[in-house]
């Protein structure tokens, strides 16, 4: 294993913060966040070529069109898939160490959208979650206008 001891560190940095990345999605998500914060609305973008509705919004479509139409979608959604994990999982995110409650991740499709959003589910036992179940976005009391506002969904009483 001696070769590993020969590894040396050379001073320097690869400062990615100095790179000027270009993402149209930042402008798009800003519009979505503003609508969430100011109007408690979920705004998605729709492709003029194939009609796909992207949430979160996306600046390019698989049909080679640019989705540039804004549409409001609902904050109710259908669970298309899910998984749960906890501190036992290898390099998984930590659970609540006190209660040992597993965290449930779900791929949900908000009504009116065609793509999945990955959120956490609250207010339900893992074994009761099922594909096809209806859920609703849990709006924070104070909407920050960011990804954290979309962090949780709860079962929908219908």
């Amino acid at each position: 294993m001696e070769y590993k001891n020969e590894t040396i560190a050379i001073e320097g940095s690869w400062n990615l913060a100095s790179w000027e990345w270009k993402f149209e999605s930042i402008a798009l998500i800003r519009k979505t966040f503003e609508a969430m914060k100011n109007e408690r609305k979920l705004m998605a973008n729709k492709c003029p070529g194939c009609g796909r509705v992207y949430f979160l919004p996306k600046p390019y479509c698989l049909c080679l069109s640019i989705p540039d139409e804004w549409v409001e979608i609902k904050d109710t959604a259908t669970v298309t898939t899910y998984t749960f994990t906890g501190a036992w999982a290898y390099e998984g995110i930590a659970d609540d160490e006190v209660s040992g409650t597993p965290q449930i991740f779900a791929g949900v499709v908000f009504d009116g959208s065609d793509t999945k959003t990955v959120t956490m589910l609250e207010g339900i036992e893992p074994e009761k979650v099922h594909v096809g179940m209806r859920v609703k976005l849990k709006w924070p009391e104070e909407v920050a206008g960011g990804l954290t506002d979309l962090a949780h969904c709860v079962p929908l009483e219908e």
């Binding site: 898939t81 899910y82 998984g92």
Partner: protein, 380 residues
């Protein structure tokens, strides 16, 4: 394709958690072994393709330092940043161009160096998904598994039984890293839970390893004993993980259909004798049965329960143990081609299946098998 390009030799290094050598020396060993197995010299190679990943190798242009160890000094050389099965496609098209007769393809990686789940996270959408820390390759695969289970009525026990089959087969494969003789579903389910329904023994263990394949034009293969012909190839690429249905492998089906058209396969279940599938997670093997046309859609669990894909079944799948036995990324799919070729030549040793004339090999790259490639291989 009818006897245009053949696999004439191959070599695998044992897959190990830490193989205690540099990446360059590892590639040199695999390259030398493959060239020697072909009865050739370095000078005979016309073109060389390596399959590796800059991020995992920790450097840009990670093939740069492989020029010497991959035998490509002063030769036509390139790389794919995908599994080695895609390197074989690259080499195939080069030979078919008529400009090259002998090609070498090497796939390699060393998980002992890069470790962890970060490489999977770096495959995610950089604007949203990397920040949110919910998706990684295991949690994404768990979402794929749950979606498939709900659609096809497959249970966690059935998925665990697939893993048990492969780990039991791996006990017969001297190159495998992880094996479990006599494994059963109970043992797999009792291994460490990761993201439901996935437990540790349902995952392909990342490790160190390299393998290499020598390919030849019909002219160059004429002098070779037991050439394995590439009869067909199909390749398809799916959309990002949150923008496609996860309950089936759509791009694998498209790849298989295209491959079978080239190979003249009309009824895969009866015309294919054996398959080597690149299952990064056990449930993907069930999904692959459907996409590869071995059974009807949503019947993967039923087909598995029939015993057809066991070592003594009518269509053994992953007689080698598959990716669950060893997963040196970028070599994993390439090893499926090698294992399929070994079976056709009758060189598979203790996991040899009798009478294999036509075999399928599958490779994948990306989160939840975003890109898929399928080969049909055959003997004389």
């Amino acid at each position: 394709m009818d006897k245009e390009v053949a696999i004439i030799a191959y070599a695998q290094l044992p897959y190990e958690a830490d193989n205690n050598m540099s990446r360059e020396v590892m590639v040199l060993k695999a390259t030398r072994a493959a060239i020697e197995a072909a009865g050739l010299k370095r000078e005979d190679l016309d073109t060389v393709i390596t399959a590796n990943n800059d991020y995992n190798d920790g450097r840009t242009i990670s093939n740069m330092r492989l020029v010497e160890p991959a035998g490509s000094w002063h030769k036509n050389e390139s790389k794919v940043e995908m599994d080695g099965t895609f390197g074989v496609l690259y080499a195939l098209t080069r030979i078919l161009s008529g400009d090259h007769d002998i090609a070498l393809v090497v796939g390699e990686s060393q998980a002992s160096v890069y470790g962890g789940i970060l490489p999977g996270i770096m495959m995610l959408d950089p604007t949203f998904d990397r920040q949110r820390w919910l998706l990684n390759e295991v949690s994404a695969a768990a979402l794929q598994a749950s979606a498939y289970m709900a659609a096809a009525g497959v249970s966690a026990e059935q998925i665990a039984a697939v893993a048990a089959k492969n780990l039991d087969n791996a006990a017969l494969n001297p190159f495998a890293l992880r094996s479990l003789k006599g494994a059963d579903a109970k043992k797999v389910l009792a291994s460490r839970p990761l993201y439901s329904p996935i437990t540790e023994l349902m995952t392909a263990p990342r490790c160190d390893g390299a393998c290499a394949v020598v390919m030849a034009s019909a002219k160059a293969a004429a002098k070779v004993e037991k050439p394995v012909w590439i009869k067909g190839v199909g390749f398809s690429h799916d959309s990002y993980v949150t923008e496609r249905s996860l309950d089936s492998m759509g791009s694998l089906k498209l790849a298989a259909d295209a491959c079978y058209r080239q190979a003249g396969i009309e009824d895969p279940a009866s015309q294919i004798d054996l398959a080597e599938v690149h299952e990064c997670f056990a449930h993907e093997e069930l999904m692959a049965y459907e996409a590869l046309g071995f059974c009807e859609p949503l019947q993967g669990g039923v087909f598995f329960d029939s015993g057809a894909t066991r070592l003594d079944g009518k269509l053994p799948v992953n007689a080698s143990g598959g990716a669950l036995g060893a997963n040196a990324e970028y070599a994993t799919g390439l090893a499926r081609i090698i294992e399929a070729a070994m079976q056709i030549r009758g060189d598979a040793g203790r996991h040899q299946v009798k009478g294999v004339k036509t075999a399928v090999a599958h490779g994948q790259t990306g989160i939840c098998a975003q890109e898929n490639i399928v080969y049909v291989l055959g003997g004389e």
